[in-house]
């Protein structure tokens, strides 16, 4: 079903613009009715209330990076599986064989990562 005969793409663009308008309009209203004052101290990073020491855009734990790579692998897998899932009902047992092989190879990857200790937060 297509609402009002408008293309879905048009409606998706409408939704994107709606979101942008919501942010923009609220900021505009806040700018019009909110107070504004400028002091030297006010523009400083709040953090936890005391002056910031050192560099803030700092390095972070490498573990996050590792999980991002793992995520990439399995997210692409999800992308590949969606078309399969949509037709799994119609092609019957062939679907089962296909997904079995595909998931077996993927689970091997997960098992390898698990064994290597990549899933353990250090």
């Amino acid at each position: 079903m297509v609402l009002l005969g408008i293309q879905n793409t048009t409606l998706a663009v409408t939704a994107v613009i709606t979101g942008a308008v919501l942010v923009f309009a609220a900021l505009l209203i806040a700018r019009l009715i909110g107070p504004r004052s400028f002091t030297q101290k006010k523009g400083e990073t709040y953090e936890c209330g005391i002056p910031t020491r050192g560099e803030s855009m700092a390095q972070f734990h490498v573990g996050y990076y590792l999980f991002a790579i793992l995520f990439l692998m399995f997210d692409v897998e999800t992308v590949f599986l969606f078309p399969w899932a949509a037709i799994a009902k119609t092609i019957g047992s062939t679907a089962l064989l296909a997904v079995g092989t595909f998931l077996f190879i993927l689970v091997l990857g997960l098992a390898y990562a698990w064994k290597k200790g990549a899933l353990r937060w250090k």
Binding site: A15, T18, F71, L81, A88, L96, L103, L119
Partner: protein, 360 residues
């Protein structure tokens, strides 16, 4: 059951009768946008109050009570307060990215919001890859959060954003796999198709055991995806001040707050769509009288009611479990939910190809 497309088609014919096609389309798009905005803000307000009432109820408090009858005007006071607070311009932030981040977070949530099936014939975006489109767009929210945390130039926001990013991308996998399980059962990705396939029984009933497992996995993953409940470590108050939005003030902070509550509704709405029949009323085969009575309840009320019920469960989690540590959070996803989810998917594939699922 009342079909809203009667109203929309009548309106469309009315407009086309008096003006050219392009103008009619423009006007309709503006109306759709305005209605989306209205529904979005009204629901956000309702959800903020709903959570406060439910939390008060769980803690044997009375909740907001002073402003208006049963505190119902409290939320308007909050919104006005948020609007008249100053948006502080920090001079050490990456200014462009700092201002861009709320756009990402809100646009992602508004677009997914527009995909939800609100009632019969009452759905804005309806791609034939509907559910896939939803996962794709909702991933944009993570980008907004990472931008917010990094551009703020503060250590707490940085840690908060990193935790949030790791959490959201990890649990997105489980959400994707739970969705796959249901797509496999339904044989379609379109939102309308999914709802219509549940005409004679919701997937949680017709899908055998895998559908129930998928529902449980989905609800846990959705709680983590919205950074709520026991998984609220990105904004753990006593460790990180307020997490990734520490440096945002006034309405800028309000956007993150708004998106957080709306995301709660969105994940509940998707759970409703996938497992609880979308706007489909509860039908029990054989009970014709009962089914006829159920059909009298408008479809929008069915959808909202079921979504609010799922949200209640998610809010309930928050008061039942202590906050998890980051290693526990990642272990839960990668060592339990994901392998179980994959196994569950194979189970569903077997059931579907053997035709063991209940007739729906």
């Amino acid at each position: 059951m009342f079909d809203f497309s009667v109203v929309t088609n009548w309106f469309n014919d009315l407009l086309i009768g008096v003006m050219p096609q392009w103008l009619a389309t423009t006007i309709e798009c503006v109306i759709v946008g305005a209605l989306l905005l209205l529904a979005y803000t009204v629901l956000a307000m309702f959800y903020i109050m709903y959570e406060r009432w439910v939390c008060a109820w769980f803690q044997c408090r009375r909740g907001p009570l002073r402003v208006g009858p049963w505190g119902s005007l409290q939320i308007f006071a909050d919104v006005i307060k948020m609007l008249i607070k100053e948006v502080v311009g920090l001079w050490k932030t990456d200014n462009f990215l700092h201002k861009l981040a709320p756009y990402f977070v809100l646009i992602a949530s508004v677009v997914v919001f527009a995909c939800l099936p609100w009632g019969k014939g009452l759905q804005a975006i309806d791609f034939n890859i509907g559910i896939f489109f939803m996962t794709a767009v909702s991933s944009l929210g993570v980008v907004g959060i990472l931008l917010a945390g990094w551009s703020s130039n503060s250590k707490y926001t940085m840690i908060g954003a990193m935790r949030s990013g790791a959490q959201m991308i990890s649990y997105e996998l489980s959400i994707g796999i739970a969705m796959l399980t249901i797509v496999c059962l339904a044989g379609t990705m379109s939102v309308t198709g999914l709802v219509e396939a549940q005409q004679n029984g919701w997937f949680i009933f017709t899908g055998h055991i895998p559908a129930i497992i998928a529902f449980i996995i989905y609800v846990i993953a959705a709680t983590a995806e919205t950074n709520r409940g026991p998984f609220d470590l990105p904004e753990a108050e006593h460790e990180l001040t307020a997490g990734y939005h520490t440096e945002y003030s006034g309405i800028h902070f309000g956007f993150f707050y708004l998106a957080e509550y709306l995301n709660l509704f969105i994940v509940s709405g998707i759970a409703t769509l996938l497992f609880l029949g979308g706007w489909m009323p509860l039908h029990v085969s054989g009970w014709d009288g009962f089914n006829a009575v159920m059909d009298y309840i408008p479809s929008t009320i069915w959808f909202l009611g079921k979504a609010i019920l799922v949200s209640f469960i998610i809010i309930w989690f928050k008061w039942s479990f202590p906050r998890v540590r980051i290693d526990q959070m990642l272990a839960l996803e990668w060592r339990y939910l994901m392998p179980i989810g994959l196994f569950n998917l194979v189970l569903m594939a077997i059931i579907v190809s053997m035709g063991w699922h209940f007739a729906g």
